[in-house]
Symmetry: C2
Subunit: 406 residues, 2 copies
Amino acid sequence: QVNGERLWSSLMEMARIGGTEKGGCNRQALTDKDKQGRALFIRWCEEIGCTLRVDEMGNLFLRKAGRDNSLPPVLTGSHLDTQPTGGKFDGVYGVLAGLEVLRTLHDANIETLHPLEVAVWTNEEGARFSPAMVGSGVWSGEFSLDYGWSRKDKSGVSIKEELERHGYLGATPCAPFNIKAALELHIEQGPILEAIEKPIGVVQGVQGMRWYDLVITGQPVHAGPTPMEQRRDPMKAIAKIVSELYHLAEETGPLARATFGDINASPGSRNTVPEQVTLTVDLRHPDQQVLDNMDAAFRRIAQDICNQCKVEHSIVDEWNSPAVAFNASCIDAVRFAAEQAGLPYEEMFSGAGHDSVYVSKVAPTSMIFIPCENGISHNEAENATPEDITAGCQVLLGAMVQLANA
Amino acid sequence: QVNGERLWSSLMEMARIGGTEKGGCNRQALTDKDKQGRALFIRWCEEIGCTLRVDEMGNLFLRKAGRDNSLPPVLTGSHLDTQPTGGKFDGVYGVLAGLEVLRTLHDANIETLHPLEVAVWTNEEGARFSPAMVGSGVWSGEFSLDYGWSRKDKSGVSIKEELERHGYLGATPCAPFNIKAALELHIEQGPILEAIEKPIGVVQGVQGMRWYDLVITGQPVHAGPTPMEQRRDPMKAIAKIVSELYHLAEETGPLARATFGDINASPGSRNTVPEQVTLTVDLRHPDQQVLDNMDAAFRRIAQDICNQCKVEHSIVDEWNSPAVAFNASCIDAVRFAAEQAGLPYEEMFSGAGHDSVYVSKVAPTSMIFIPCENGISHNEAENATPEDITAGCQVLLGAMVQLANA
Ligand SMILES: NC(=O)NCCC(=O)O
Ligand SMILES: NC(=O)NCCC(=O)O
């Protein structure tokens, strides 16, 4: 039995690092706050005798020895970085629940056959550095180390510079090692489990996701004397494209998603038609074929509208994460652990990307979800109940022990 | 006869201060470059014996004595500040043509009855500090001195701080003084004069202009798991509003203008629906009644669409500059000077705001326009021919001398 109160109080203590006025968390990847959070987590792990490895991308691996340490570990983990206006649970819950599993076994003096490891992946959110899941992406071989190191934030600072500044550019090669099984526990970040009142989601896979920068270039002219019909205005085109993509998502069906999280106009002067507008576009669908169709429709829509508006455009492919199906034995282990704990569960897909997407490329992987309040995440109001937090951790413990003793 | 070559070479020398790679100019108000530009202009004026006054808003007045210095001066001038990606002529031409008039009279040893003054108004563009024409606005009494001093740029620096830093917070009260007549020479910044192949515009007045910040607040949620119909997305509303306002401008007729020069999303994270999007809106029409109708329509459109999209909004009134009619005698003086010089002219309205809008509140005022290439302004490619530059200055000389000797 995990200690739900200890887990909750660790979550609240971690949330104070980067805590915001509205009760959320701003602990973006590789900031000073992220460094503080990592240090606290490492201290907690070392207190129960775990050993630390830091790899070249600053991914952390905290290991609790097993009875046979020549065997591959059972891995769990997630991320400690947050959105700029993020919550207290996204990612952090998976990391600290992993710690709670180790603490529980440590207190009960239980050693599993296989060693256990908790991973903290660098820059999962993709908020400070694009794309998301960079630490696990490089580790799995999906991205090169140079690509990972060279990701820059909006002010031009690179991941490598920040890793060096914080002393987190580790000696361990950032490359996959042999893993028995990998599990990740996370809040759902959507409304399904709450609506059907079930505490556990048995996650089958993750939907496909694509990120783009849409860059539209027109002609800067004066807001006053320039007749509307002589303008080549990127804002006119952007407005039409956003509305069309909303329409596309709606007509594609209830599973399609289109999000425009950031936009910038240059030179950004009130009385000048912008020369250039850059819009971030995030398209998703669980069915890879449908997502491919959305991608094609997006390119067609952008082309047509930019032609109409006599502006130039380019679409920069920032990220392409195809739909993923998780490993059947890992899914079975989660289902079995939920049944053992007497917890109702739902088989479901993930709408959010997770480090498990990349981990699943090189190791048998699956995920566990718990409900979150009103399905809200990437929001300072993000919340979950202590009961669900405890339930999810109990399922994680059950599944990990089962996999580590098999 | 003015010296067109001297004027052109002064324009080119000034353009090197803040000169950009694309041949334009970035000499925004009260930056270090603006200070350099002001210093160069003051040196040129003092070389021909002019005296300087600097007022509390950093407006500069360079005076060439007349035969009776107890009489009110005839004033000309404009501004030396530019857009971030501005050109070599907008504003600067009016200031340096004023200087060329003084140089011509100085060389010919001519003293007018009334003294002559060239004004450099602070922050005309409204690009670094909103609104536009702040220096002339405070001077005319349209804005209070505190309002003017407290305008802040995007990084939070105020006009007063910059005036102090550069030593341009002058001792002269920023308040209107007795003026015989005021003229401003400017490039048209629009396509009319070029299209009809006339070198001179006799400007009757300036169209009405309104600036707003439209602030839309929704709910930040995760781009992946959150169904489209559960979102309250400011970007969806902004896109519809921009398209509707384009439609409004088009159906209002060929004289209406709607411009969206800047936009910002917060928190500005790719995989989070924005909590807030702020859009700058610039609406214009020469007929004040029609502009009032556009204002009302804008408020209705924003309200309706925000209701539909279930987002909150507020409209911040940044600036309201009603349509202005210039002084008949000043207009006559310009027309007469054009005829005297044998230059074809067109009676017209200004689509851009100018310091003359505020100067006209307290002194008889009018303006002179010359064509600019392709009607393009607020653009690094802004251009005008040396012939038109000379012709405009010749008309300014004629009109000023006529008014200063009457
Ligand atoms: N879990 C999570 O918020 N991941 C960020 C990557 C994504 O955008 O889905
Ligand atoms: N002349 C000029 O560009 N003035 C700026 C004020 C405006 O936006 O019209």
